[in-house]
């Protein structure tokens, strides 16, 4: 009887030791491979709202509607260095709306009025058309619906506005519902450093 217990004990020890070794090996391999935190990010070159070549498609609002949390973390971000600073911005204005008495379109595109338009540089007080304008998106009002992204897309605009995941808002789910729903598989996991880069001006589709 006692021999059996001892043998079982010994066997248990051996198996436990082996399992521990296995754990150590697995954990060691994984730790060695570890490369920092990974987060979800939108690839502007694939996103329907910003990728070149997608003509006539409707605005894709899945980035804001699919998230399991009530307010998704996707926002429209304007890469200022790539923005044209135009007097009439096709992402700010609805260029298909009637022109008002000032010569500007009468309607704005953003349903939440999240874009602020202000003149920059050497401001001409007499002729507003003589100024460059900065378009700043307020991320508290923006919900990532993508309408302005579509308006900025080449060739209508310069493609400086893209949809991006904002990490102060994203829960960072292991399984991103938006990523699963995206028709172009534009949302993937990236290293934090790469994910924080804002490109704008979507790369060509090849």
């Amino acid at each position: 009887m006692s021999e059996e217990i001892t043998r079982r004990d010994a066997l248990g020890k051996v198996v436990r030791g082996t399992v521990l070794l296995g754990f150590a090996g697995g954990a060691g391999y994984l730790v060695k491979k570890a490369n920092g935190q990974i987060v979800w990010q939108v690839d502007a070159a694939k996103c329907v709202n910003s990728r070149l070549g997608e003509v006539g498609a409707q605005v894709c609002t899945l980035c804001t509607s699919e998230c399991v949390v009530s307010q998704s973390a996707v926002r429209a971000v304007n890469n200022f260095s790539k923005c044209g600073r135009c007097y009439i911005c096709p992402a700010y204005y609805n260029i298909k709306s009637a022109v008002d008495e000032k010569g500007l379109p009468s309607e704005k595109l953003c349903p939440r009025d999240a874009i602020e338009r202000k003149p920059i540089g050497l401001i001409d007080p007499e002729d507003p058309a003589n100024n460059f304008y900065e378009y700043i998106i307020d991320e508290e009002k923006c919900d990532g619906c993508g309408i302005c992204v579509k308006g900025c897309k080449e060739p209508l605009g310069l493609g400086s506005i893209v949809l991006k995941v904002r990490y102060n808002l994203c829960v960072d789910c292991n399984r991103c519902a938006i990523a699963s729903a995206c028709p172009k598989d534009a949302i993937a996991q990236e290293q934090v450093k790469e994910a924080l880069e804002i490109e704008g001006a979507a790369k060509p589709v090849t």
Partner: protein, 276 residues
């Protein structure tokens, strides 16, 4: 006035008459031959659309123009190359301060006008290469507003320079001494006689004393106005690839309008439709 499409010249491909990656500028000479620059090559098409001659340029070409004596000017990034009619390089102008990306070339008497897209101004040079003055830079914006990256202009029969200012949705008229005489055009997203989007028209060519031909992007189209700014005709709209931008336009002595489709890399030819 209505126009009908009569021909499609060139296209995308590897053959000698086709372009591989880019088609950026077209021009017509006095004998109605069509000159087109794209990739790093210049191709000359006869009036029937067959490639007659072609030669390489040292850098990708952004602009082409044919002088009265038959020499061919090709604008590139940082330089202008001047070829004779057979393709031999006669001269190369480079000016680190004044020649960035040359997107348009025109002639006015004995001067050569060169459009610099980097500095957003037109440079006026003597035929020998001596710089005379800038055009279009003496304003609050310090140049033309060209977010599309192409500065295009054309010289009319009276020596007035018509330059497209897309950021302001108009075509402006300048004297060679840089006096702004006036402009035509206004923004309008709904009315076809206006210029839509953020920056239109992208390209312009002027014929005689009363015709301004322009092309636009984002719903690409080619239109023709008179000098008072009245829209005479929408030459074509849906036949272009919807992603076209900066389509160059040229008109020959027969009134045939050529437009370069920058995505499909083909040149579409239109003629006035005689039928009412």
């Amino acid at each position: 006035m209505k126009y009908k499409q009569v021909q499609v010249i060139s296209g995308k491909g590897d053959a000698s008459d086709r372009f591989v990656q880019t088609l950026r500028s077209i021009a017509v000479d006095g004998r109605n031959r069509l000159y087109a620059v794209g990739d790093s090559e210049l191709k000359i098409f006869d009036p029937d659309g067959r490639v007659q001659r072609r030669w390489p340029t040292s850098k990708p070409g952004y602009a082409v123009a044919v002088a009265a004596d038959g020499s061919v000017y090709v604008g590139q990034a940082g330089q202008v190359e001047i070829f004779d009619g057979e393709g031999r390089l006669a001269d190369r102008w480079s000016d680190a301060e004044r020649l960035g990306r040359v997107t348009a070339i025109g002639f006015l008497g004995s001067s050569v006008l060169i459009g610099d897209a980097n500095d957003r101004a037109i440079r006026r040079y003597e035929t020998g290469g001596k710089f005379l003055n800038n055009i279009g830079k003496n304003n609050r914006m310090q140049g033309f507003l060209i977010p599309n990256g192409v500065l295009d202009f054309s010289v009319d029969a009276d020596g007035i320079i018509h330059a497209a200012n897309p950021g302001k949705h108009r075509v402006e008229r300048y004297t060679p001494e840089d006096h702004l005489l006036g402009h035509i055009g206004r923004f309008d997203g709904l009315d076809p006689s206006g210029f839509s989007g953020c920056c239109n028209p992208t390209n312009v060519t002027v014929v005689g004393r009363n015709r301004i031909y322009v092309t636009e992007k984002a719903e690409p189209r080619a239109k023709v106005y008179d000098f008072q700014g009245k829209l005479l005709s929408v030459i074509a709209t849906v036949v272009f690839d919807p992603n076209c931008k900066n389509m160059d336009i040229a008109v020959d002595t027969r009134g045939r309008v050529y437009v370069a489709d920058t995505v499909r890399l083909e040149i579409l030819a239109f003629e006035e439709d005689a039928q009412p």
